[in-house]
């Protein structure tokens, strides 16, 4: 997929652990880990809303489109 998830970058910037974010968002850390590792097929707007609110960022800070990766596929 040509969408790159940069959740780990934002977590590092906010000095927050994955488990803490998962707890605050209200999903399991296993599911958040799937999202962080780019294995997820889709993300609910309410999950994105919660992540952005907690990390105080924009969706674009977490999701990025890579044309190179798209061309490779």
């Amino acid at each position: 997929m040509s969408i790159i998830i940069e959740l780990d970058v934002m977590l590092a910037k906010r000095k927050m652990k994955l488990q803490d974010l998962a707890r605050d968002v209200g999903i399991t850390s296993a599911n958040l880990s799937i999202l962080k590792n780019g294995k997820a097929k889709a993300i609910r707007l309410e999950t994105l809303d919660a992540i952005c609110r907690i990390l105080d960022c924009q969706p674009g800070d977490i999701l990025r489109f890579s044309l190179e990766r798209s061309n490779l596929e």
Partner: protein
């Protein structure tokens, strides 16, 4: 999965396994015995279970006369014909055993089962369109091979049995494809965060 559902799956697996293995043994018995021991009562009985009335009518032969005049070459032709006829059932039984094995491993609406159901359909499709006519060709050849020149012939027919088998084969392939699609949808659902 709760324990009750798992127990039901185990029960289905056991029933499918027992039925499939019994069917497999019976099938091998029914293919080989009539051609290996054609003069025996059991051989005659097993052969009479197969629908040869049309063949016997067209060849003006009697099943008992045919059994008495049977030669090694007609035995081989008959055995090959029976194998062609039984091949789809044999493969289907093996596929059913695999499916029941997957049920035991909690894999119910799994991609493996979807592929196996599709294969089951393709096996019946090939059986109905190719193997059943081939079976008739070999059986006509087996019955008429000892006739004088000019009275030997081969023939095949495509009747309501073949059409019914094709219909069920297409239904099975469709079920397999729908299961594959269902699996993809459920996988996407699982990976939606």
């Amino acid at each position: 999965m709760n324990k009750n559902n798992y127990n039901q799956l185990l029960l289905i697996n056991k029933i499918m396994c027992v039925v499939s293995y019994l069917f497999l043994i019976a099938l091998i018995f029914m293919i080989t015995i009539p051609w290996l021991c054609p003069q025996s009562e059991i051989g005659k009985f097993l052969l009479s279970l197969q629908d040869f009335s049309a063949v016997m009518d067209r060849t003006h032969n009697n099943i008992n006369d045919f059994m008495l005049s049977i030669t090694p070459i007609s035995r081989i032709l008959g055995l090959i014909g029976s194998m062609f006829a039984s091949l789809p059932l044999l493969l289907a039984t093996i596929i059913m055993i695999k499916i029941s094995g997957n049920y035991k491993k909690y894999q119910v609406f799994d991609i493996k089962n979807a592929i196996l159901y599709s294969r089951l359909g393709y096996v019946y499709l090939v059986g109905a369109l190719l193997l059943l006519p081939l079976y008739e060709i070999f059986f006509y050849a087996a019955v008429t091979i000892n006739n004088p020149h000019g009275q030997r012939f081969i023939a095949f027919s495509i009747g309501i049995e073949n059409i019914t088998a094709v219909f069920f084969a297409i239904a099975l392939v469709t079920i397999g494809q729908v299961m594959k699609l269902g699996y993809k949808i459920s996988e996407e659902q699982q990976l939606t965060i």
